[in-house]
Symmetry: C2
Subunit: 193 residues, 2 copies
């Protein structure tokens, strides 16, 4: 950190920044860009669900245009992403944290955990994508693994050590800044054969 006169601070880029192509994009942007690539290249079909909104009032200023003038955010009852890849139903949630040592489970709502547990039970491949922003590391953790951890541990967080051990590091390229389907391919397709 270099201090400048006048209290301005200069942010020193982590070295890994030079190696990544993401350049400050959010995890959501990275996943959306990757999903666009998967769709365009006909690799798989995964979409982010729209944010659920409670609409209270709608105006019709012209015949064809409805303008929502009062609405509120509702809590999502499911995860953010769903799709299909080689006949596998995919269902996952993506989260970022600035924490360097653990992922706090409070970042997930109980109904999201319930949903991941339910779809996992019914045969979807359910998982979390967690990005540690400060470490610049992104992991895919399968629901079967972290649900078991949650059920047997007293801790209300996933330690980075456990994540590095059980999870899969997600690779980032320019075209696929969050290439989670490569992991699904390796773990769920290749290992099954």
């Amino acid at each position: 950190m270099i201090k400048y006169p006048g209290g301005k601070k200069s942010y020193k880029k982590p070295d890994s920044f030079a190696l990544t192509s993401r350049r400050g994009m959010s995890l959501e942007e990275d996943i959306n860009k990757t999903n666009d690539y998967y769709l365009f290249m006909d690799i798989g079909v995964v979409h982010k669900k729209p944010t659920p909104i409670q609409i209270v009032n709608v105006d019709y200023p012209s015949r064809n245009k409805a303008k929502i003038t009062e609405a509120y955010f509702r809590q999502a009852s499911t995860t953010d992403y769903q799709g299909v890849y080689k006949s596998i139903a995919l269902d996952f949630e993506a989260k970022e944290t600035k924490n360097k040592t653990l992922f706090p489970l409070a970042a997930l709502h109980q109904h999201q955990l319930d949903h991941l547990r339910a779809v996992n039970k019914h045969g979807a491949v359910a998982f979390l994508i967690i990005r540690f922003n400060t470490l610049d590391e992104t992991y895919l953790i399968f629901a079967k693994d972290f649900l078991q951890y949650i059920d047997t541990s007293e801790q209300r967080s996933l330690p980075i050590k456990w994540i590095r051990d059980v999870g899969y590091l997600v690779e980032s390229t320019f075209k696929k800044p969050c290439d989670y389907l490569s992991i699904i391919e390796d773990v769920c397709i290749k290992e099954k054969v």
Copy 2:
């Protein structure tokens, strides 16, 4: 139709109404109620996606409450329903029509057809649920069937005769007013064995 003085009209219920348990509920309400039952009974997990909305302006009248004061409906780029049943990825769209002889394909957006084609190709079980309100008949039509029809026919509609031939009549009970998973079970699970 009985005419009353003062221009009031009395609506005569169709006879079939007495036989059904739906009692004027919309197809969407029927599917949501059925999905709630599937979830509660741990049969499968299917959810309706939220309506996509473009948010333009948000007020914060209090610290915890965000009020959306300007927003617009966006066109959905996918289908309305997604889920998982016995490891099958499900993806479908539901439509009602008052037409008695055909389902007009104009009721489906091109990107919805493209989406159904894509997920069908990647191994999801994709389908349409079409309710003919006047006939009080609801059909499940698999994407592989109607996509083939669309690709080989010049018609811009699905005739009821063709639907009755190729589609599956969806049964309605009080607890499962649109029991489409029974059809998935019969066609995709039992017939596979």
